[in-house]
Symmetry: C2
Subunit: 165 residues, 2 copies
């Protein structure tokens, strides 16, 4: 069920024999997400996705990731619950030997930033470095999209050019 | 895709003609959840669920709610990313006129607390009050399961008995 929920809640009186009136019961265990996890809503062309990423380990190299497709309607409703500016980018796929490199060209407050990502099957897997790859920024938090919504590229691009380019 | 992600990230060199090498591209817009939203992982008997609730409006009466079934494996992995103690309870269903009342009996650190919830189709809809319903606690934050994991019933039950019972 997705939508607006209206409910009223009451304490249950002791010794009121309520349990004898129950038609069924289920056991429930539940937990709530910590702020260190990233919960992302994405609209990609016309499809919606919900993604959850756990905290980074190994200097940002490994993260638990969960992704589910959701309806465009749901994605638009959930985007309204998001904080900070929306990240807007175009993702290009480039084949490089046996890998596919994803290159993200950012717009809006992150205009001018272009990042490449390569997904590996192990931390030690080797891969060829095409000439367009610049300095590695794996694990650097200001390049996380989740950080860029609060501290976009336009605020730190000058610092970056001294440091990396 | 769900699982562990290993990826390395690079800046892309200016004037390196990378765009001519792309085989395809997609436009992406995405946002990240604010801390005011609740992201809940639930295992109910042997099934997993992911639920997102927006902030309460109207004194806790109305909240946007999104729910998706996920696999038990996914639920167990996501539960590991949760913070505070896990809420453990048995939910009983009790028919009352045209409504079904859900009664939650809590265990563990919340042992002794029993709460009833009734879902309504509008904020003004009337319903019968069976004798087992005690004082209303709609919108009171210490009865939110998401709060009870940090501040469980055993820490405030004595205060409650003076105030409500």
């Amino acid at each position: 069920m997705s939508g607006f929920e209206i409910e009223r809640k009451f304490l249950v009186r002791k010794n009121s024999n309520w349990k004898a009136m129950a038609k069924s019961s289920t056991r429930i265990k539940q937990g709530y997400f910590a702020a260190e996890n990233t919960v992302r809503i994405r609209i990609r062309d016309n499809r919606g996705y919900l993604t959850i990423k756990g905290p980074s380990t190994n200097g940002g190299l490994t993260r638990y990731e969960f992704e589910k497709e959701i309806s465009l309607d749901e994605a638009e409703n959930l985007l309204k619950l998001c904080q900070g500016s929306i990240i807007d980018k175009r993702r290009y796929l480039i084949d490089s030997d046996t890998h596919t490199i994803e290159v993200d060209e950012f717009y809006g407050d992150n205009e001018g930033l272009v990042l490449a990502e390569i997904e590996l099957s192990s931390e030690t897997e080797s891969f060829s470095h095409p000439a367009f790859l610049g300095p590695e920024v794996t694990g650097k938090k200001n390049f996380y999209n989740s950080q860029m919504r609060f501290f976009p590229f336009k605020l730190w691009r000058d610092q970056l050019s001294r440091e990396y380019w």
